[in-house]
Each structure stands twice: as C-alpha cells, then as structure tokens.
Amino acid sequence: MCRIYMTIGKEKNENIGYAFISPYIIFLLAFTAYPLVFSFYLIFHRWDLLTSPAFVGLDNFIFLLHDTQFWQALLNTLVFLLIHIPLQIFFSIIIAMVLAEKIFARTFFRAAFFLPVIISGAVVTILWQKLYATDTGIFNHLLSLIGISPVGWLTSTKIAMPAIAIMATWKNMGFYIILFLGGLLSIPGHLYEVSRIEGASRWQDFWRITLPLLRPTMLLVVVLSTFGAFSLFIEPYVMTGGGPLDKTMSVVLYMYKHAFLFQHMGYAATIGFALAIVILMVVLVQKKYLGKETEY
C-alpha cells in the first residue's frame, strides 16, 4: 500500500498549531516560568510586600541553616514518612490482594475504600479532630471499652504526629489500593500456575512473584506518598496548629506562617526552595533504590 502517513503541510497549518498553543505559552510564562525565575530573586531578598525588596545575599540561607523550627519541621515530615509509608503499603497491598480475589460486592468495597480520597482534606481533618478528641472521641471510647485510659492523640508530643500519619493513611489508602489492584491484575496468571507446578506455597508465591512484580507500583506509591507528605498543611493547621511543641509543624505550614503571619516573603520562598530540593533528592534516592525505570 502506498499510504503516506502525514498530517498536514507546513506554512498555514503551522500557524494553526501556534494559535492553539498560544494561550498555554502565555499561561506558562506568567504562572510557571515567572514564579520559577522570581523564586531565585526572592531567596536573596527580604520583602514584606509593603516596602521594596532589600537584597540580603545569602542571609536567608544562613538563617535557614540555623533555624531549629525548620529542621524540626523537616524531622516531623521524616517521622510522618516513616510511619505513613510502611502502614500505607502494608494495608493497601493486603486489601488489594483480597479485592483481587473473586469477592462478593467488589465494586461496593472498592467504592467504600475510595470514599475518603474524594473528600476534602479540610473536612477529613475536622472530622478526625473530633474522632481523636481526648474526652469525647471514638478512639478513646473504644480504648475505654477494653480498659485502657484515654490517650492525648493530638496533645501528646509523642503521639500527635503518628496520629496525623494514621489519618493520612486512612484518607489516601483507597487511592493506593486501586494502584496496587491494577498492579496485581497485570501480573500474568500463568506465572502462578507454573509456580504451583514447581511446588511453591502461597506464601512463597507472594514473596517470589507478587512482591517483585509489584515493584514498579511500589515505587509509584512511595514517590506519591512522599510528595503528599511534603505537602502536609491543612492537617496540622486544623488539628494542632503545628503543636504540641512544634512536633506536628510541617514545612509547608511553617512556610505559610512566615509568609502570612510575619510577611517574610523572601524567607518563605527560601523555605519553599529548600523543600523543593529536599523533595527532588528524596525522590531520586527512592528511585535509585526501589526501581529501575518506571513509567509514570
């Protein structure tokens, strides 16, 4: 067949292409390129939005290095990650594996787990604040049923961050269940048949077939949860205001405080800049250790 695959000629049609992308180009310049470039300006300046910006050289970075609250916020995020990611992976893989079986009312269950994903973080947080309430919350109520004295879920310096991590796990799990379910269903069934013939147990199946083949999904889940963890804002804002003793202060909340309580635009931008670098480094490390090339 002498079919030539070719869209359209040049000249006039090239103009149509440019006409179609021109709104995006303007948008890109104004709301992506400009902020990106301007962030490099801001990090070397002190600016309260009222007076004109003052050049301060590396002062913002020097201050950041000695800012214990910033490092506390980063540490909090690390604590959050260390609790959130293992919990997330553990529970969502289990539920996904159950859902991958022939299950009655699978659609219903899938929908139920997904429900928190579509609800605003603001609502979820306000709701869980009530569930975590020391004297009237359901968690302490349930504990009291088995004779355990009330826990200060959001007031204890040790428990507040894990409590937020548990809530975040609950909120996002539906999303990760769907990702794992997709990963599980894409594993060819004949691999398990071969494994059956070779005499492997179900347990061995899981460790030798399922888990290795879920690696790309795993990386995706880890990377996405990491992005989520570094965006933590409304949860501490509503539940604890960053307390107790800054133990639930997140980096974004800290940035927000500098920008909107103290009008430190330059310093807030510096926090954002530092955070972006940390995120990219963490994601690079995760990619290196968790997977080769993953497509997403």
């Binding site: 149509i16 539920i95 306000i126 569930l131 359901i138 940035m255 927000y256 635009m265 800049f273 990219l280």
Partner: protein, 269 residues
C-alpha cells in the same frame, strides 16, 4: 470458610472507612446534647444545625464561590488543555517536541517551589480577594494536556482528514470530532480538576481574606479553627456536609470515572 473470613475482614475494614462519614452525617443532625455520642441513630434528628450554619457564616456565598471557581477552572482546563493536547497530537509545527518536553517538565516541579512567588504575583496583579486570583493560575493543567494528547494520538488521522475535506476548520474538528470521541478523557480531566479545585484549601487561604470571597473548604476551616462555631460539633459537621454532599452525589453517579480517572492521573502525574 476461607471466603467467609475474607469477607468479614473486608467488611470490617470497609466499615472503618465509611463509619466516620456516617457519624459525621449523623452528628450534623443531632441536637447539641447528643452530638458526641457514638450512636449513628437518634430519635431527636433535627435540621437545627444546618439552619444555624446559615445564620453564623455566609455559607451560601461560599457555595456559590466554590461552584463558580471549580466550574470555571474545570471548563477552562478542559478547553485549553484539549486545545494544546490536539496541537501536540495532530498538528505539525516547529518546536512541538520541545513543548511536549516542557509540559512533562512542569509536572515535575514541586508546587512548594513556586507557591510564594506565585502569591507575590497575584498581589502585584491586584488579584487578592478575587475570582481571577482563584481561577487564572490553574486555568491550564499539564496533566490535562498529557491526558488529552495521549487520547487524541490514538484517534485515526483519517477522521481528521475527512473532516478537513468536508470543510471543517481545526477548531471544529476539535469540538465536533475529537471531543465527542474522547468523552472518557474529558470526564476524567473534568473530575480531577473539579475535585481538586473544589477541595483545595491552601491556595484560597493564601490569597483570600474577605469572608465573602472564601470558598467552601476555607470557610469551613476558618469556621472550625477560628472559633465561630463555638466548639459546637454538630454545626461544624453540618457545615462540612455542604462541602461533602455535592461530591458524594457525583461520586455515586460517576464512581467508575472517579476511581479510574484519579488512579490514572496518579500514574501519569
């Protein structure tokens, strides 16, 4: 037997995911005295809390704001992203591949990096406390462009050529041929964008001060945190229900699209 145990475990887990919302709905309908009770049912259900919400905060206005902002953002994202997606998929122009790389690159920039400079830009533009401030920075999305491009690439070029022969212009080809043929992609992009905008709280909290310009999540957050609710749990829950109910209704009808759309956005993002 094993099946039964599996189902029981699953049921228990599902209940723990749904119960909080049922409790929320129930608490919003209970009188103050019963608000913190764990029971879902009460013989004293009342709409008192909902009426109180309207008295205490301009929630009607917030609902309107949210609808306008989420609606306009969604319409704009669908229109402009599909425009760019079409150009990237089906039109030939110098720099096309470069533009595609740029789209992918913008999706990898952590939002935290540009948040503060973007805020200062809105201040400079005088868009604080305005709809443009809430809408314009989110009018086109890299994710939307990517989803539309992938969908459009798979539509046969013959259809485009046939439409050209029949006299359709490029914009007509997009709206009359490509849009109807990519309904799932449009629904996906629409849902992701609408949900994201509807639920967004950080950006409004940065650029909105006036109560009359607040969107629902910000209004509710301020209400709960700022003390206007007077610690009254039932009223806070009632206010939250206004934010939740529209999405849950949409979710019931478009469940498949919600789940697949959001999952695919995660994979592509």
């Amino acid at each position: 037997m094993k099946k039964l145990i599996l189902h029981l475990i699953l049921l228990f887990a599902a209940v723990s995911f749904i119960y909080p919302f049922l409790w929320m709905a129930s608490a919003s309908l209970k009188p103050v005295a019963e608000a913190t009770s764990m029971n879902l049912l009460s013989s004293n259900f009342t709409f008192h809390n909902y009426i109180a919400v309207f008295k205490k905060i301009p929630i009607g206005r917030a609902l309107l704001n949210s609808t306008i902002v989420a609606g306009a953002t969604t319409a704009s994202v669908i229109f402009f992203s599909s425009l760019v997606g079409y150009a990237l998929a089906k039109l030939k122009f110098t720099g096309r591949e470069t533009l595609f790389m740029i789209v992918l690159f913008t999706m990898m920039i952590p939002g935290q990096l540009t948040l503060i400079p973007l805020y200062t830009l809105i201040v400079k533009l005088g868009w604080v406390d305005s709809y443009p401030g809430l809408i314009v920075p989110w009018m086109i999305s890299g994710m939307g462009i990517l989803i539309f491009r992938q969908t459009f690439v798979s539509i046969p070029g013959d259809l485009m050529e046939a439409a050209r022969i029949e006299g359709a212009g490029e914009l007509q080809i997009l709206t009359k041929i490509f849009w109807p043929l990519s309904k799932p992609a449009m629904v996906t992009v629409g849902i992701i964008t609408f949900m994201g905008t509807w639920n967004e709280v950080l950006w409004p909290m940065m650029i909105i001060r006036e109560q009359t310009m607040m969107t629902m999540p910000q209004m509710i957050t301020m209400f709960a945190v700022g003390g206007q609710a007077g610690g009254d749990l039932g009223i806070q829950m009632a206010a939250s229900m206004f934010l939740v109910i529209p999405l849950v209704i949409a979710y019931v009808f478009f469940q498949k699209y919600f789940i697949e759309g959001i999952a695919s956005s995660g994979i592509k993002g």
